[in-house]
Symmetry: C2
Subunit: 247 residues, 2 copies
């Protein structure tokens, strides 16, 4: 399903989500910026629904998502699915200092997704990159822990609000959206499998949030109309979850 790359702008525009996200941790060296921009020469694009990583694969090649949405997930034998996280532009896939022996989970494209190969970044791991990977790993774990709280102890209403806030902050960090206004091409089915709810109930919960004046969504454009309320009802903990540039 991989097809030739359509490059619309310069490579630096292509890599900007990765640069923005990493730069959010701490300013990148000029050398690293250049190195990352160089990754943009090797892109790969897959269609929605494509498998990015097969669970149990040996040595999947590390990459960054530069466009589109993906997710990591597990399926149960009877068809039930659970998403572990949503992957947005700027996120890595298999990007770790320590190549895990086996891929921990399946990864699937939720929309058309463009990736860039990141293996050269990890060939000689510089001290700067090592530090960045540690920060990414810490943030990834933090997101997983937040996800566990959502699924275990929050209502559908709270879960949905929490996730929408989290996504906005992450998209903002990657520079592909704003904390309270972003393009959201995820189907309610995927959202249901992320939030541990049924499709029908996700739909009703979103409409309840809309009726309450907290969100608004037209044709994939999500607007969080009252970020403070959304954060307080979902007990959103900004601490360390995302390195926000501004206070």
């Amino acid at each position: 399903m991989m097809r030739p790359t359509v490059r619309r702008a310069g490579p630096q525009a292509l890599m900007s989500p990765v640069l923005a996200r990493l730069n959010g941790f701490s300013p990148l060296s000029a050398a690293l910026v250049e190195q990352i921009e160089g990754l943009g020469r090797r892109t790969e694009t897959v269609a929605a629904g494509a498998t990015l990583v097969e669970a149990g694969d040996l040595a999947t090649r590390p990459c960054f998502i530069v466009d589109g949405w993906a997710c990591r997930l597990r399926m149960l034998p009877d068809g039930r699915r659970q998403l572990f996280n949503l992957l947005i532009p700027g996120d890595g896939l298999g990007v770790s200092i320590h190549p895990h022996p086996l891929a921990q989970s399946h990864a699937t494209a939720l929309t058309r997704v463009t990736t860039v190969d990141a293996s050269v970044l990890l060939d000689p791991v510089s001290e700067e990159i090592r530090r960045l990977m540690v920060r990414i790993a810490a943030q990834d774990e933090s997101l997983l822990l937040g996800h566990i709280v959502r699924l275990g102890r929050q209502t559908a209403y709270e879960r949905t609000a929490h996730l929408l806030v989290e996504i906005g902050r992450r998209l903002q960090a990657s520079g592909v959206g704003e904390a309270a206004a972003y393009h959201f091409p995820v189907t309610q089915e995927a959202l249901a499998d992320m939030l541990g709810l049924s499709i029908v109930h996700v739909n009703r919960t979103l409409q309840q949030l809309r009726r309450d004046g907290l969100i608004d969504m037209v044709r994939g454009e999500m607007h969080l109309l009252n970020l403070d309320t959304l954060m307080s009802i979902s007990d959103f903990q900004p601490s360390g979850a995302v390195p926000t540039p501004q206070a």
Copy 2:
């Protein structure tokens, strides 16, 4: 089988959970075994309910749990609690090659807990230790992902079965129990906060499992009477979750 009584007599008996667990990944070098046994000279014991790690702490000192049960958890403002994992003898706390800037979560003792300081292990990180830490990190993540599936997509019955199987395998790997028979001093309240259920429903679910002839528990001694059935109803994936010695 041999009852691994934690006897205060020899340090090697004290450290045996750590040694057994690490040895399960790959045989430890004699030098490392000796080094780990040496950790037993600096123990610390806290009562049930004590806080082991405060969330947000800077640089908590790494340690291994050598006796007792603990957990990592988060609390919501209204008192709801969600456990992230259960920590058993042999598990590390803050043991990582990369000292995270901040502790990701609160850690609490569920029973009286004895720990040993592990900081000397990480002072100069040998290649052997580095490899072990990578394995531990991979397993920890795998457990978190399994936990997410439990909470998001499994029924109370399935969740409980899954957790009981997982715990048995981990206790066996640490040599402080067997996969189908182990001491289980966790209250139903803690179990509820782990499984995302109410105390009452945990109680009912355990009794249902008992009525179905799948488990038996008398005075804290858990017996899994039909491991195969428990694994199949909970879709327990042994793959990589725990390095089982036997095939």
